[in-house]
């Protein structure tokens, strides 16, 4: 059915509004980062800097803790993404393919686990990490993030597995493929977009997370980027806005880069034509 021209225009206007809504904060961040300290507090703010300045970037880059904190964030986020995906993949397959009472209980528990408020578990988590000797360590933080991200990633991934027709597995089995071969050569390649999406979700969750990092990490050398950013904000509304924007922009770059590389994997339609009828 053809879409009427007026409807099409409306759709594009809505899409444009949505993009502006999402993009404006980023544009403002970008603009603030390139404004001079005086222009940042100007009475008549402009969308783009009147005169482009690198002063805020100088302050941000002069902070000797910037690159170590970025490296810590990268280690934690990549580790979280890999571990979460590796654990969630077989679990998601089992959940999607094996219908049993255990599945119902497990799925129920996954949903219930999302109900616990953040502040409720922070002290237990702190004490568990202390007892494991993982306080103030990056592995401790990775452990928390994996546990935190796992229920949702499991839920996401089992949806992707369910979307793969069983017929494909049966066809491969009919052709003589073993279970392992079916998984490795049929299922996993088809799951690639799902795996990438799941890994990216885990990565971004860990990259942005502040509160657990705040309570787990005390050594400045082990701080992640969100902790560093928080120290640009003082009390009583005091904010070092320019350096904060510049640092935020710098800390956004790695995740943007990873998105740019990974987004090609996020294509849909891989299954198109795989099953007839």
């Amino acid at each position: 059915m053809r879409t009427r021209p007026l409807t099409r225009v409306g759709q594009y206007v809505a899409l444009l509004a949505y993009i502006v809504f999402l993009g404006f904060p980023l544009l403002w961040l970008f603009s603030t980062a390139f404004k001079s300290p005086r222009e940042v507090i100007s009475l008549e703010p402009t969308l783009l800097p009147r005169s482009w300045s690198l002063d805020s970037f100088r302050v941000a880059l002069d902070n000797s803790e910037l690159f170590p904190s970025l490296l810590n964030s990268l280690i934690v986020a990549v580790s979280t993404a890999i571990l979460t995906t590796v654990i969630a993949l077989p679990a998601a397959y089992a959940l999607a393919r094996h219908r049993s009472k255990l599945r119902t209980v497990t799925v129920g528990w996954i949903l219930v686990s999302q109900v616990f408020p953040f502040v409720l578990i922070v002290i237990p988590v702190f004490v568990v990490l202390r007892n494991l000797g993982l306080l103030n360590t990056l592995p401790g933080l990775v452990l928390v993030y994996v546990v935190w991200a796992l229920p949702f990633t499991l839920w996401m991934l089992q949806g992707y597995v369910s979307a793969i027709p069983r017929d494909l597995e049966e066809a491969a089995a009919t052709d003589g493929a073993s279970r392992a071969q079916v998984l490795l050569r049929v299922i996993f390649p088809l799951l690639a977009p799902g795996l990438v999406a799941t890994a990216m979700f885990a990565f971004i969750s860990a990259w942005n997370e502040f509160f657990f990092a705040l309570v787990v990490i005390t050594d400045p050398a082990k701080e992640t980027a969100p902790l560093l950013l928080a120290r640009y904000v003082g009390g009583e509304g005091l904010v070092n806005l320019g350096p904060l924007a510049a640092t935020a922009l710098i800390t956004t770059l790695p995740s943007l880069l990873i998105f740019a590389v990974a987004q090609r994997k996020l294509v849909s339609g891989m299954l198109a034509g795989s099953v007839k009828g």
Binding site: L43, F118, V122, F126, G235
Partner: protein, 441 residues
Amino acid sequence: MKRTRPHVLRRSSLAALAVGSTLLLSACVSNSGGGQVSTAGSSLAPDQKVSLTFASYAFQAPTVAATDKIVADWNAANPNIQVTVQKVAAESVHDKLVTQFAGNQAPDIIHDESADIASFSRQGYLADMTSMVPADLKSDVPQSVWDSVTYDGKITGMPTIAQVYTIFVNKKLLAAAGVAVPTAEKPWTWDDLAANAKKLTAGTVSGLAWGLKSPTAGIMSSGLAFDGTFVSGDEKAPTMAVGANEQQVPNRIAAMLADGSMAKDSVSLSGSDVLAGYYGGKYAMIMAGNYIATQVEEQAPADFDWGMLPLLKGTSEHQASNPQTLSIAQQSKYPAQAMQFIAFFMKAENLAAIAEGDALIPVTASASAAMGKKLGAEHGWDAILGSADQLVDAPWNKADKFPDWKSKYATPAYQEFLAGRTDAAGLATALTDGWKTLSGG
């Protein structure tokens, strides 16, 4: 003084948190009130090495540098007692401490503020420093400031630096309007402020601006100049009354808003949001915490001639004492050594460097003198530095329910009042009813 946003781990959520924690980890957690009580004595074996942790929320770059220098100097002079700094974001101090206390992992030395340590003191998480404070240090701080860090008879925080609310003026605009800058000996009264704000209001210029987005602390503190104490009775659970004294400052603000001498747009801005208008000549004067001076120094145009005025006078120049503090965790194994470091931190030149970095007032007379010697009368610092003895204990800061009342009732009530949606009587009712509700009465 440092935090205006509600903490994630506010007291209201702590109850739920405590229940949940108990349910989830009852088998493996062994917590007890103030955590493990320190057992070590004050003396060390000759070759014994001690490591102390010092959690600091120093924010301004010069203060961070001054803190690092103090710690480096201490470590160089005391090879057996080494101090390590843990940097904490100013807005996260409370949340982090709640977790660390509960997990028995608190730093030995804790940088916080007097209003925030009330609950920690009562829960037994902070060591009683009463008998540990050296005599010369004790006498160097006004008694009224000691009162603000004394909980149930125990000193649980060493007061360091404090803020006052003061008037920042654009001297060129004052001179043009024929308004003289007052002296410390003859400060402006609130009546003088109103009269001069009116004189300075002309065309696009408003006489006064006050960033009252978070109005409670500033208005209540200023009210002490009219003896507006708000609460009385039991220190932990006092009763509230909002009478004529407590209404003085809100009514004066309302009058200035009504006659246009105070900028209406400013009351919805934060303390530092009004600075752009101040630099741009839109506001001739702004009321702000004196810490704003750091930003003014950094951001104001080179030819901007500014100054801070002596504290405004009501029946007195009193304001609330809510100094930053250094406390010792009850869980610390080395309280005596922690106290030695704190005493070193409080040395005049050290505290003066910290105070100068944050543009706050050192509470010791010796540090105030050192800072005054360096800054002189520039920008009115002489009058501001001399105002530490005007800081008096604000009884509401010690009430357990104050943080909840402030965020749930007082701030919305003051905002309604400033927006003209309620009158003085309505404000008083909202404040007292809120207090009663939290008291369960």
